[in-house]
Amino acid sequence: MACEGSVTSAAVVTLPGKRGISYAPEVASPSPQLAALGSLDDAVLVRRIIAAAPAVDGQAEAELCRRFGPRVRLYGLKHLRDPAAAADLVQDVLMLTLQRLRAGRVREPERIVSFMLGTCRQMVIDLRRGQNRRQRLLETFAGDVPISEFAPAPPLDAERLRPCLERLTERERTVVLMSFYDGRSAAEVARELQLSTANVRVIRHRSLRRLRGCLDGGDSTEDSS
């Protein structure tokens, strides 16, 4: 499995071993070839990978991983709420997708997004049912795909965020902390603070705008909602 074209000097995940998946959440300065690949339509990119089989178009595969890795990770975080499990999901989904592409088993390249999202959904369902699809995959491709070390996207520096949080109103700050600390819904936060759910949604939304403005160096006191 060779999705290993490094597209940036930083934040690249490269599987140890002779073959592996590299995934760069943030592309700092892609090579001209990869920059060109980045402008390709998904279906065109996928057709390139299919057309190369049984050879491997490493650059096209790397671009596919770069493009979809972060989204698979988001899906994993949303549904598994565990960074390590999300990282495993990224590897498994990319691995299975590339395997299918090389084998010519993805018949509608223009539907690659649906294919990958469907794969995410199925794998998460399997996980919840306690079926260890990952183990089966690893057994099937034993020796071909080593276990991944997954590096998440560069984190937001808490020290950068702190002064921005302090510029929120007390109510906004409390809602932000309670919402984001452990992923509480607006209804749950509203219940604890004796506010309406709609009010919490408004405060949450306004706070996000103000935090973004502050982090971007703008005026965090601006109410742009």
């Binding site: 988001l74 997004v113 984001f180």
Partner: protein, 190 residues
């Protein structure tokens, strides 16, 4: 080129609802399909996820002044955050400190909050700034208490000082003091 497909980017409100609120299954599928196909929206969602990570880090280290709820403080404890708590009745005082083992200190201020429309907290801190007024803090009127978490780093810098907090109810531009709470702080000595 995925970004070109994003003719109707999701709003922040939609992304927040998707990530935090658990929307209905049909709506979730639609949002999910959009995020999966759209580089731009996926990146914005990643920003929200990154923000949540940073918030967790700040909360767990007592990195911001905040007014919290009892349930939230309990969740922090369950997550392994070491919380030192001082419960104080109106007009009373307490001897307090912060130890190297503490992540967070919480002042649990008791007060009759029924019927209060707006609540302010005034922190009288002789050691650093002058009085700081936290305006319109969130509270549960039925709880008869609020939880104030000062900045842990500031507490660690304090010498032996007396701090006071004051709860003030604000109704129709009139102010009514609900209680004064005294914290006799001494630096931790092992």
């Amino acid at each position: 080129m995925i970004d070109a497909a994003c003719k109707t980017p999701l709003t922040d409100a939609q992304l927040l609802e998707y990530w935090l609120d658990g929307v209905a299954a049909d709506a979730e599928d639609v949002l999910e399909e959009h995020v999966f196909a759209c580089d731009r929206c996926a990146r914005r969602l990643e920003e929200i996820v990154g923000l949540a990570d940073a918030v967790r880090q700040i909360v767990r280290s007592g990195g911001t002044v905040a007014v919290l709820t009892r349930a939230f403080v309990e969740r922090l404890r369950q997550d392994g955050v070491r919380v030192r708590e001082y419960r104080v009745e109106p007009g009373e005082g307490v001897n307090c400190t912060i130890t190297p083992e503490d992540d967070l200190v919480v002042s649990r201020l008791r007060a009759p909050l029924e019927g209060v429309a707006r609540l302010d907290v005034v922190v009288h801190d002789p050691g650093e700034r002058g009085p700081v007024r936290l305006q319109d803090v969130p509270f549960d009127p039925g709880a008869a208490e609020i939880f104030v978490a000062p900045l842990a780093a500031s507490l660690r810098r304090l010498g032996t000082v007396v701090q006071r907090m004051e709860l003030i109810a604000v109704d129709d531009s009139r102010e009514r003091q609900l209680g004064v709470y005294t914290f006799n702080h001494t630096p931790y000595a092992r």
